[in-house]
């Protein structure tokens, strides 16, 4: 752990742990400068990503390891949050993780869409030695267009 304001969370793949991770993510996003709408998106998308690890990665086994690391990132003076979610499900084919079109109304297939809609950067990658999946998510606080809207008045 390199950054002094990073937080690492280890849980098992039981859905009952989702609420604790959501609370931690929300508090970290707040500290890293995200406003409430941005925080809500980040919290929902992390929930979706963890749920996918539980459902698709661990096939609903509740004893798999999930590591969530929260840290601050910066980009062009904007502050943001990076969330890294790592599992130990073994080899994964990241090509198969894809968004479906939202035009069709059917249950399921929303999670990956929500993740891409909510975060500015989304990267699925296999972990070294085929240990499992690593998902890296970054979201920056949108710059308030205070100047622009002031100009318009």
């Amino acid at each position: 752990m390199s950054e002094k304001d990073s937080v690492e969370i280890h849980v098992l793949s039981d859905p009952c742990n989702l609420c604790v991770v959501r609370a931690a993510v929300s508090a970290a996003a707040d500290r890293f400068g995200l406003d409430e709408p941005a925080r809500d998106k980040v919290v929902l998308a992390v929930d979706e990503a963890m749920t996918n690890v539980i459902r698709h990665g661990y096939k609903q086994r509740t004893d798999g390891a999930i590591d969530v690391t929260l840290s601050r990132v910066r980009d062009n003076g904007r502050s943001g949050i990076q969330v890294v979610i790592e599992d130990e499900v073994g080899p994964v084919d990241v090509e198969r993780i894809a968004r479906r079109s939202l035009d069709e109304v059917r249950p399921g297939g929303l999670g990956v869409n929500i993740i891409y809609e909510s975060f500015d950067q989304v990267e699925y990658s296999p972990r070294p030695d085929a240990v499992g999946l690593k998902l890296t998510l970054r979201k920056y606080q949108p710059v308030p267009r205070a100047k622009e809207s002031a100009d318009r008045q």
Partner: protein, 108 residues
Amino acid sequence: MIDTQTIADGMIVRVKGDIDFSRSPELRQGLLGALRDGLDRIIVDLAGVQYMDSSGVAVLVELLQTQRKRSQKLVLCNMQPKVKGIFEIARLHLVFTIVNTVDAAMEA
């Protein structure tokens, strides 16, 4: 997690608590288990739901499809702001009938 109340043309289902993947299977069982022919109108009152993820939304989509297949109605009401958020991301706010109050849901 859910309370049901019979009304003239169907029933009102009141859902309580955050709905994530730790609770959506139970919600699914409760909602789909209560279904039967002749429920012309199901009103799902979401006043008590501050948070819902896509696993909860999937249950409601399934319920909608079942009702539609039977030419019966599903109306959602009292949707809280954060829950509205996920319906909007999923572009489902235009697919569901969503009204503000239970009273409006009776007429919808």
